[in-house]
Chain length 230, copies 2
DNA sequence: GCAAAAGTGTTGTGTCTACACCCATGT
DNA sequence: ACATGGGTGTAGACACAACACTTTTGC
C-alpha cells in the first residue's frame, strides 16, 4: 500500500441558534458565488492545514459573530455524500452552536438571522443540517442542562420558559419547568428579585444555571443499575 | 479566494462490538507497519475518492468480517487533532458497529476479538474511540431498541438479559427487562417455547424484536408536550 | 418429592403533569 | 378593589425496581 490516499476538501459548518423575537433563529449568509449563488448558507468554510475542526469552525464564525458570544458548540455529524457539492469532492463536518438570548452580536451585511420555522431555500444540504441541529437541541433540553447556553446569566422563570417554548416548539409551564430543573440541581435562585413591570404583578425571583458547562442531568431513563443495597 | 484549500487524508474506523463469552468484545487487528507497529488497532482505512464514509467503513470491514453480519452501524464522531497521526495530517471518522451474538464470523489471522474491559495497548487514539463507542451503546440501550443488533433473531429472556448485562456492565433482572421492553412495544413473544435444559426447569418462551431498525422508544424523558386535551 | 429455571402478582417509590389556590405588586 | 403576573400546594398518573410467589420441567 504505497500509493497515495485520496484527499477530499473538508469544510466545517455550524447551525448557530439564538432565540429572537420569541422564535428559534439560525444565522445564515448569502452566497456571492456559484454554486448556489444568491442562496442562503450556513457559516463555515475550508479546514486549514493542521487545523482542528473545532478551531476551524470557531475561526470561520469569527467573521460572522464574535465567537465569545457562542456559549456552546458541539459536533453533530460528518457528511460525505459525493454529490453534495456539484463541483468538488468535499466532506463537511456540521456543528451546533448556541448564543444566549441577551446578546445581539454585530453581523456583516450579507449575514442575518432566520427563523428555523420558515427557512428560505438553503444551499447544499444545509437545510437538513439545520433541522438535525434543532432535533439535537430539543433532545438535549430534555436530559441535560443545555438551556444555560440559550439563557442570560440571570433570568426569571417566565423568561426561561419562553426560551424553552421557542426551542421546543410546544407549550411549557413555568411552574413545572422550575420544579424539574431545581429538583435536578440545574437551576438555583440568585436570591434577588426583579421589580414589577408597569402593569403590576408580583416581582419575580431571579434564577441562574449552577454550572455553565454541558452536563447530563437525567442519565438513566431506564435500566438503571440496581440499588446498592448494602 | 482562488487558492487551493488544504486537503488532509481521511480514514474511517469502526469499533465493532459483539457479546462473546459473557462479555462485550471489540474487533482489533495487529498493525504490521509503523507507526504503532505491533500494536492493536481498530479496523478501517483510507477513504477512497468519491466514496461515502459509510461505504468506506463497510468496505474496510469486509476484509475483517462479513459485512452482512454487522447488524447496526452508526457514526460516532470525527476527530481532527493534528497530532493524532505522527507522520501525516489525517482526520478520522469513527463508527459504532454491532454484531449479533449468534454468529461467529471468520476473521483473518492478524485479527481478533478483545474484551473491552481489558483492552491491550491500542494504536493512535483508538482506545478513546472504543470507550466512547461503548458509552453510546450503553446510553442507547436505555432509550432505543438497539438491543436488536446484539441479539439473535429469537431468544429467551435470560439470554437477552445476559446480553444486556455484558453491554451495560451491571446486573439486569430478566423480570424487569421483559416488562420494560414489552410495555414499550419493542419485544414480542414468538409464541413458541424452547425445550428445558438437561437439569430441568420450565421451558422458556421465545421472544423477538418487533423491528430490526433503530427506533427511539423513550423519546421524552421529561418536558413532554402538554396532553392534547381536545 | 425436590431442585432448577421461568414467569406472574404485587407493593412501594420517585418523577412527572395538571390544576387549584395563594402572594405581591401597580393602578 | 381588582387586574396582572409570580409562586406554592396537592392530587393523580405513570413507569419503574424489588421481591415474594407460582408454574413447569428433569431427575
Amino acid at each position: 500500500m504505497t500509493e497515495e490516499p485520496a484527499r477530499a476538501t473538508h469544510v466545517s459548518l455550524a447551525a448557530v441558534f439564538q432565540v429572537r423575537a420569541g422564535g428559534l433563529q439560525t444565522l445564515l449568509w448569502r452566497r456571492a458565488e456559484a454554486p448556489y449563488e444568491g442562496d442562503w448558507a450556513l457559516p463555515g468554510g475550508y479546514l486549514a492545514a493542521y487545523e482542528t475542526l473545532e478551531a476551524s469552525i470557531r475561526r470561520h464564525l469569527t467573521h460572522k459573530v464574535d465567537v465569545g458570544e457562542v456559549a456552546h458548540l458541539e459536533q453533530l455529524t460528518t457528511i460525505s455524500e459525493p454529490g453534495r457539492h456539484p463541483a468538488e469532492w468535499q466532506l463537511a463536518t456540521a456543528y451546533l452552536g448556541l448564543v444566549a438570548s441577551d446578546v445581539d452580536p454585530a453581523v456583516p451585511s450579507d449575514t442575518g438571522w432566520h427563523p428555523v420555522e420558515s427557512l428560505p431555500p438553503l444551499a447544499f444540504d444545509h437545510r437538513e443540517i439545520v433541522l438535525a441541529a434543532r432535533e439535537r437541541l430539543r433532545a438535549k433540553l430534555s436530559y441535560t442542562n443545555i438551556g444555560f447556553a440559550l439563557a442570560p446569566p440571570e433570568f426569571t422563570l417566565s423568561e426561561l420558559r419562553d426560551l424553552y417554548v421557542a426551542a421546543l416548539g410546544h407549550e411549557v409551564t413555568a411552574t413545572n419547568l422550575q420544579r424539574v430543573l431545581v429538583r435536578r440541581g440545574v437551576l438555583e435562585p440568585t436570591g434577588t428579585r426583579r421589580e414589577s413591570g408597569p402593569v403590576g404583578g408580583r416581582p419575580p425571583a431571579l434564577f441562574q444555571f449552577k454550572r455553565p458547562e454541558l452536563e447530563v442531568t437525567d442519565q438513566f431513563a431506564v435500566l438503571r443499575p440496581p440499588e446498592a443495597s448494602s
